[in-house]
Symmetry: C2
Subunit: 268 residues, 2 copies
């Protein structure tokens, strides 16, 4: 028998799986029951996305340098930092230590600047991705619309307001210090990230509004949003809490992790 | 419309591909037409295996330190060094700089020791993998057989002789300095890695031998093996050159790269 090495080669190579499971590292400091529960949910969603979530839990006594070392340790394909960090930690320095090519949450200044400047291939912060996904699926076009964003936090208000402007909406931002809830009445699109239970009542908004509730707070032991659930009867599109923006943002986070690790030429 | 965030989440996550294409880095110093051609073949086989071959070509003037830096640079999932390296380079130091978890060629002392000691989960050097694959497919059992290995090089003779002993064969090694071609006549299994064209003639071997020719040399511009092709008429199993052990060893190399990058719990 003359061995056909080329045929054997083709058979071996066809059963080799040249793919690797993506590992997303979550760095968490001083875990609380709430962050433990968020991380458990993320681990489960990572699995749904075919990825592995590797959690590095640091003690409350960790220094900024130790947190940065945990972020920078090689081996992960994407890195997320569970916020908030304890008071003694320099949060911005930690976020800026996430390498651009691993920053699935778009929280380092470098990654955020790419989003801000609308650079080609820049990732959207996960909550922005969720808002886009929800509006698109609801058939709601953004250009020319009047939008009101409540809050200007790093995770919701600031990036969502920026994105809505980029898309051609006229955007008002309401905060505790400035703005008037009466502005809600004129809005076509409302995105709320205040974290104040019952802040938005049905009489605050107009019939047919798209009301995206990205605020969460605790009320009598339950997680609730900024909008009274009765707003669903007035709104044309309404996202409940829980079960609305939150899980979609987590999905967008893992979709970002995948994008960071595929060839730009590959379709997503 | 009340948005069902969980349903959107499931849809997004189902289309996320949480897998990454494996990148194998080949470090090559002072390319010659021969090494360029080997690397082109490896690139093509990598593609067949769903991987990417990233070639780092260093100039002839590269120092040992520069070659080691190219090996150690982060980013690759497996690393191979194209041998031989130029005379000025400390080959063993370069091979030992390949991290154990990326050494698909099993050429660092650490990876080779795991193979030597028969450790659980240790990889086989690619030529050994090819010899095993070819014998298994040919239905040839090794325990108790008389084997002769020609040559004791790092890539063929030494690891193949070791493996045949591990499998329970009685093994003689022939080199230029010691041993007698007459020993071939008693062998059940011959593995040749001499690189001497026409070294083995049909009258040297017994009817029914398994003759695995892993030697290559150039003869009148063609790549030929150690065995005269007429040996195929005497042997029960014969591997031609080209098209025998060579391509199977390359396949085993990429199969090793895949194994290094999958969870031990995953079936291969």
């Amino acid at each position: 028998m003359i061995v056909d090495g080329r045929a054997i080669t083709s058979e071996i190579l066809a059963r080799v799986r040249g793919k690797k499971t993506l590992t997303v590292r979550a760095v968490s400091v001083s875990p609380s029951p709430a962050t433990e529960s968020y991380l458990a949910i993320k681990a489960s969603r990572a699995e749904d996305a075919g990825m592995e979530l590797e959690v590095l839990q640091l003690l409350d006594s960790a220094t900024t340098e130790e947190v940065i070392a945990a972020v920078r340790e090689p081996g992960a394909d994407a890195i997320i930092v569970q916020l908030p960090l304890p008071d003694g930690i320099d949060t911005q320095a930690v976020l800026d230590s996430i390498p651009l090519e691993k920053d699935a949450d778009v929280l380092s200044r470098a990654a955020y600047a790419r989003f801000e400047n609308g650079e080609d291939g820049a990732l959207l912060p996960p909550v922005v991705g969720a808002v886009r996904e929800i509006l698109e699926r609801g058939g709601i076009e953004v250009p020319g619309k009047r939008a009101v964003v409540i809050g200007q936090g790093r995770l919701v208000g600031a990036p969502v307001a920026l994105w809505l402007k980029q898309q051609g909406a006229s955007v008002s931002v309401l905060t505790r210090e400035s703005g008037d809830l009466a502005e809600l009445k004129d809005a076509d699109i409302i995105v709320s990230g205040a974290g104040v239970a019952g802040l938005i009542q049905p009489n605050h908004v107009r019939q047919g509004v798209a009301l995206i509730d990205a605020g969460t707070s605790e009320s009598s032991g339950a997680i609730v949003g900024d909008a009274d659930p009765a707003c669903a009867e007035v709104a044309a599109l309404f996202t409940p809490v829980p079960g609305g923006v939150g899980p979609v943002a987590v999905a967008c986070l893992f979709a970002n992790a995948a994008r960071l690790n595929h060839n730009p030429s590959e379709a997503l």
